[in-house]
Point group: C2
Chain length 427, copies 2
């Protein structure tokens, strides 16, 4: 198996050199051709998906996972639409990010003296990206599209539960891309569903420049521990909303309701509510009435329980947890400082919001909370590449290296320095 | 030991929150105070260094390593000067990298519709940086200075051969920093010289945001394999110069001589010379005469040997190697394409140069060579933060994630999104 994986990685590496220098036009033409091919082959795709679904039912896969695995005409249309949106995004490769000319002081150059070099910092593809993901077959399309547009070769490793669907999707993408001028090896698919394949792949750092795992915390942790290839992970979101003593209560209720209830299963949904003690007695009863209507299970600190007796006690563990469901833990704090400290201690550095009319308090919160995105008077649910205007999103990074927060096409690039001389040498 | 390391990491984590929000003024004041303290305490420093040197001689450390370990008045002055240079650099924290306001379309926000959010992308410190380094005690000063200026807490882990020197240096820096308003824990020093300390530290990813190893290839490899903390490494430099058929021969000789001979022991020194076959007969005899005078050992491909019979044959392994000494391997190629292919196959992605008067050929080379810096008509030795105008350099990264090429203060920062709303929620 190892040799087969190395062969695929070598093919991808070799393809990525050519891909890096393809014109935007060729890449877009191929993306549109892939979109068309998916439409044309939808019967084949749906029948492969049916095989996966039948197997999933046999092994009693959870209904949530079966839902994520399921394709239908609408979902195929969405995938096609997604590819077309990628076509419309500007090409992230070849952008001059910075450009400067050092003053000229002769051809012999000392450390910081004038040297006349013209220096450009230019965006380039990362090279070869390994995508490791679970159940959702649309990732096969999305990842291929984003990598192709950003000039990266991609190695796809989907979950075993979607193997039939992913195999046919990858085949359609690969063949169509190749027929439209994309180098062979640009989109490689790992057919084996053996777990060892992942352990092997994440160590092929001579060929693979980046691994993006999309899945549960445990899977990401395991990959981080074993990988020698750099990892860019969509992190967990233990997101907080802090309702300050000077909050507009009506706005606070809308934001807190939205952040928790609108879609509780996603990473930018709110998991913790911090409330300033001066506003708690007025705000909490109104807020909790709304939450009760939506069926939110509430946990809270002792002070919260004093105001709302039916709230269950929150344990120390609660403050760390990402529920991803209609559970919320509430804590009453004495100051914005205490809120910031609590978030920086228990939070996951994903997305946090302050609701306040006081700009100075907001400024303090926005500056001192150490998260990938901090909001003033807006729902954490708005941390999203689409909402921010990036057009598409690969995920939200909670790490600090390379990319932090919502990641779009630009985050799939690196840079290189291009330096123009006249014969300069080092003294 | 593990608990002690965790305690240090915890202290650093807690310090970094405060450090992130310190003013430039306070940071600069502390840097200047540290510079003064080093001058004042130089007798103490030199006598600690003498103990390390005596031990080094006892265990027969190589003369190169002893040289790197040695401090004297001049080197202390250089360290002091280095700190003052860091003071003069602009603060990399709190810069607004991008700022935009989305058109307003109501408080209920759909994926890509107008939403009126004002979004800032702001530079912030990484957090806690672990420096692992060998022999050179000046890294203790440099790393502390750069981390302090960029608002990062640092954990220093120097080599056992410099333990006495580093201990006194770290003590002076730590105490002076603290006395000048820098939070306790901002500069942590690992006193134990046990190897296991490194294995423990590089797994403390809940506290440490980045590890920067400075040392040999093997040490970096070992850290990459075991670390769960992200690694930013100064990579190996198998640098190439390609002399095109349309090169100015006089310029080519100067550049090739400089890139190989001026300082052969550093990562941006040239290790391989590629020569177009049409110019080889004219260029190589002149070039090799110069190299002989400098005592360069030459290896070459068969065609090189046909022109210069005394050149030793180069093996396949030679094309991959970083000699870091006065050895050079020469290959004759038939085209710029062959040169590019050779570099992308055997190179380490560090720094490469083309010498040519033909701008189209240069453009092809600059675009298709996949290295952190590519030069036209200039020596590879010029890949340097000082030369590029960055003022200081932490190293040169040959990886593609986060930072590529020469790394300055900016590369010690991450970003965060600060989002200003008016009560926007997700629809």
């Amino acid at each position: 198996m190892k040799e087969e994986l190395i062969k695929k990685a070598e093919r991808a590496k070799s393809a990525c050199r050519k891909l890096a220098n393809l014109s935007t036009e060729i890449k877009n033409k191929a993306l549109l051709a892939i979109a068309d091919a998916l439409k044309k082959e939808k019967t084949k795709i749906l029948s492969a998906n049916q095989v996966d679904l039948n197997n999933a039912k046999k092994v009693n896969l959870s209904s949530a996972l079966i839902d994520r695995l399921t394709l239908n005409e609408k979902r195929i249309s969405e995938m096609v639409k997604g590819l077309k949106e990628i076509v419309d995004l500007s090409d992230p490769v070849g952008k001059i990010i910075a450009e400067w000319t050092r003053p000229f002081g002769g051809l012999k150059v000392n450390k910081t003296e004038p040297n006349g070099l013209k220096i450009q910092k230019v965006s380039v593809p990362l090279g070869v990206i390994l995508m490791i993901y679970e159940s959702r077959p649309n990732v096969t399309i999305e990842a291929s599209g984003l990598c192709l547009k950003s000039g990266n070769a991609v190695i796809l490793r989907g979950g075993s539960e979607a193997i039939k669907t992913n195999t046919i999707l990858a085949k359609i993408i690969g063949q169509t891309a190749y027929a439209n001028g994309i180098p062979d090896g640009s989109i490689e698919f790992i057919e084996t569903t053996e777990r060892e394949a992942i352990s092997e792949l994440i160590k092929l750092d001579q060929y693979i420049d980046l691994v993006i795992p999309r899945g549960g915390e445990e899977m990401i942790r395991a990959i981080r521990e074993k990988a020698t290839v750099p990892v860019l992970a969509h992190g967990k979101g233990n997101c907080h909303t802090y309702v300050d003593k000077e909050a507009n209560i009506e706005m606070a209720i809308k934001i807190c309701y939205n952040a928790k209830v609108q879609r509780p299963g996603v990473c930018n949904a709110m998991e913790k509510l911090l409330v300033h003690q001066e506003i708690a007695k007025k705000f909490l009863p109104l807020m909790i009435e709304e939450y009760k209507k939506a069926g939110v299970e509430l946990r809270g600190c002792t002070r919260t329980q004093q105001i709302i007796p039916e709230v269950k006690p929150a344990t120390e563990d609660d403050w760390y947890r990402e529920y991803l469901t209609l559970i919320l833990a509430i804590k009453i704090v004495d100051s914005v400082e205490e809120a910031i400290e609590h978030i920086n201690k228990y939070g996951s550095g994903h997305s946090e919001t302050i609701v306040t009319e006081n700009k100075e308090t907001a400024k303090k919160f926005l500056q001192e909370v150490d998260s990938s995105a901090v909001f003033h008077n807006a729902s954490t649910r708005l941390h999203d590449g689409g909402v921010f205007g990036f057009g598409s999103e690969i995920g939200i990074s909670t790490q600090k290296l390379h990319a932090r927060g919502t990641m779009g096409l630009n985050e799939l690039t690196s840079t290189k320095y291009i330096v123009f001389g006249k014969g300069q040498i080092r003294e």
